[in-house]
Amino acid sequence: MARTAMAQETICALRRKIARIEGTMPERLAAPGEGESLVLRRYGRPEGTAGRPSLSAETGSPRLDAALGGGILQAALTEVIGRETRDSGIVSGFSLALAAIAARAGAASTEGARPVLWVATADILAEAGFPYAPGVEQFFGLTPDRLLLVRANRLEDALWAAEEAAGLGCFSATFLELRGNPARLDLTATRRLHHRAREAGQPVFLIRHSSEPEPTAATTRLLVFPASSSLRKTLAEPLPRSIGPPAFAVTLARSRTGKTGTFTLEWNPHDFVFQERWPTGERGSAFKSSREAQDTGGLAAASFDRPDPAPPARGGLAAARKERRAG
């Protein structure tokens, strides 16, 4: 092998030349750790991207993207927390939505659709139910043949499986779903998950039901609460008493930029983007009836023009009402 820097450079140049002639990627010809100018790709993704800024995928809500520093991180551990197990649909739905956004952004750079691995402990599957493939496809475009589920009886097994899958890089996303605040899922365990995600370049979502936020290595932590959906839109006017696209009340508790905030997001299952619901904005269309306004108020109506997070629950509702009255 090349001993001197000179010889090494010659070899690199020759390799690039060969690759250009053959019309293939030069990266696969390179051995790992052979000079800074070469990138070893595994499954089409550069290896050892530890030092570089991670790619991010835009969620569709400019305010949330700004707070996240450009969007949801592609190669990182993202934590999604639900306070109660009965919110499991909302919490897992929100995580799936984030994964769909990440997959859509990833699909542009790499070919084909990769499967998704869902690792869950047996107790949460018993309590919150199994993912239901037809529904997952309807809302998040994830076809049943791309969904794999690992049921682990013990938390250690679930952690092991998630770690192995996260490092593999052949899944478009890995989910680890569990319940509560187990002691085993500490800073070290989550840091390992995060490192794997970063090296493989694929997102890992840690879904925690009936849990309290605690220090973990996740770069992004989101608390998800239920939010009333808007009415179904028809050509004429919103259909009364109907249930529109899924809505989430999200609190960004930790982000790469250090910003936090509260958002009410509505998922668009056709375009796979979020839309922020403006409590005072689109008064003309969806927020016509007073009944609807009451529904939105419940937990976390987002403030419109303030950079600081609106305090959740009552404060937000009062603010929304005040603004309504003023306007």
């Binding site: 499954y43 009965r86 499991s88 649909g89 018993a126 139910g129 199994f130 239901y132 809302f139 419940g298």
Partner: protein, 447 residues
């Protein structure tokens, strides 16, 4: 009775277990071990004897080791099972082997019982003065068969090797296996893993020669004290690469950590291919992305199965049904792959929204509805009260009467949203006006 005789109640089950564990132990000599009655074992040592330095040396070795374990064992070696059986039980003075061709000579002085005859036949023969096998050998066969049945002649022929007798091995015989005898027993996991790698390398050559790969592998660990441990791993695609094989067993050994008791160590380790399948050689494209990824995926699936147990990794199995729980359920990945060619994966058109989580079993809720056929006004699920703000439905799903007997009641599904914004999928089972009052269930959860 003699005062020093110790009386112990007969325990046939325990005897059986002991015999089976002995048969397990005998696996180290040959994979073809069959149980014989309550107190015997057949070992088919065709092609194994040279490993132990010849037939006589092998016989000696077996008896010696059994004696060391505290058994009073008698053994004999012959070219037919019948002859070996007779020699082991009726020869005076020790264990011997009967050379091929000398069965007649060896059998002649033995009593009739050596022929494995029914008691009735034996008494009949003895009553006419035929007390030794030799007397039968000289007698004309046709009258013997007429009088004492064809079984007598069959047994005689079997012992003499004129008709083939097959012993049925207790365990399925692996098509391919490699083993290593160890002078120094090993006990640590690292040693076992290293040995697996060595054995797998030998196995690879054989698999390559036959153009096959392993679909199921078994590792047999023979402990010094006679206990045998068998560890199996399955693979989702034919496999022959030694590091991958070693890795699968590594996961399995990790999972077994506590239950694998090395005791004084293992002195024989055997790696066998229980199920083999043709290995399809595929040429990857130059970039090799797709196949690499697929391989990595199936290896991960195998490792998860090895560590977490079979059926830990699941995939949705779709069926053409409009009953939600039948439409898609999670099945172990290998089962799902088998079902796929027959079942259709064509998506059924469903305009109605489906939940993203489905409870394993619909959970009964107490609900009150405004109007009999209408959506619930409020319901109580897992002791919490939910007030319904909005509801969509009903979507009526009737039972599949061609599948069910008696048909399940009709379900009316409602999609509801409570005051806080949680969305659930509820259904009312049965119709108003029927004999049983309708009941409400919560079946799924929407995002």
């Amino acid at each position: 009775m003699h005062p020093r005789i110790e009386i112990i109640e007969a325990d046939p089950d325990a005897d059986r277990r002991l015999l089976e564990s002995l048969a397990d132990w005998c696996d180290r000599f040959t994979p073809l071990v069959a149980l014989n009655g309550a107190d015997g074992l057949f070992l088919d040592i065709n092609g194994c004897a040279h490993l132990f330095g010849g037939e006589d040396a092998m016989l000696e070795e077996i008896v010696r080791r059994l004696t060391h374990q505290g058994f009073d064992a008698r053994a004999a070696l012959a070219s037919t099972p019948g002859m070996a059986w007779a020699a082991a039980r009726y020869y005076e003075g020790g264990d011997r082997s009967v050379p091929a061709g000398e069965e007649e000579h060896a059998l002649a002085p033995l009593p009739l019982a050596a022929l494995r005859l029914e008691e009735k036949t034996r008494f009949g023969l003895e009553s006419v003065g035929l007390r030794h096998v030799g007397a039968l050998l000289g007698a004309p066969r046709a009258p013997l068969a007429r009088r004492f049945g064809s079984m007598l002649i069959a047994r005689l022929d079997q012992a003499l090797g004129m008709t083939e007798e097959v012993i049925s091995p207790r365990l399925p015989v692996a098509p391919l296996s490699v083993e290593r005898q160890l002078a120094e027993p090993i006990g640590t996991r690292e040693d076992i893993e290293r040995l697996i790698l060595i054995l797998a390398r030998t196995l690879k050559e054989d698999l390559e020669r036959s153009g096959e790969g392993a679909r199921r592998l078994q590792l047999s660990l023979f402990r010094v004290d006679g206990a045998v441990m068998r560890i199996r791993v399955g693979t989702s695609r034919p496999l022959r690469e030694p590091p991958l094989v070693a890795r699968l067993f590594q996961e399995r050994l990790t999972a077994l950590e506590n239950s694998l008791d090395a005791g004084y160590g293992f002195d024989l380790v055997r790696l066998s291919v229980a199920v083999a399948a043709p290995f399809v050689m595929q040429q990857a494209d130059f970039s090799g992305h797709a196949s690499e990824e697929e391989e990595a995926l199936s290896l991960l699936a195998d490792r998860i199965c090895a560590r977490l147990g079979n059926g830990a990794i699941l995939a949705p199995a779709l069926a053409e049904s409009h009953v939600p729980e039948r439409r898609a359920r999670f099945a172990p990945i290998e089962e799902e792959a088998r079902a796929r060619p027959t079942g259709t994966t064509e998506p059924l058109p469903t305009a109605e929204a489906r939940p993203i989580r489905l409870l394993e079993k619909p959970e009964p809720v107490t609900a009150s509805a405004e109007v009999p056929e209408g959506p619930p006004l409020s319901f109580r699920w897992r002791r919490a009260l939910y007030r319904v703000a909005r509801a969509e439905g009903p979507e009526r799903i009737t039972s599949e009467w061609w599948n069910e007997d008696p048909p399940a009641p009709t379900r009316d599904y409602f999609r509801v949203e409570d005051m806080a914004g949680r969305r659930y999928w509820l259904y009312r089972e049965g119709l108003y006006g029927e004999a049983a009052a309708p009941r409400w269930f919560l079946h799924g959860i929407f995002p």
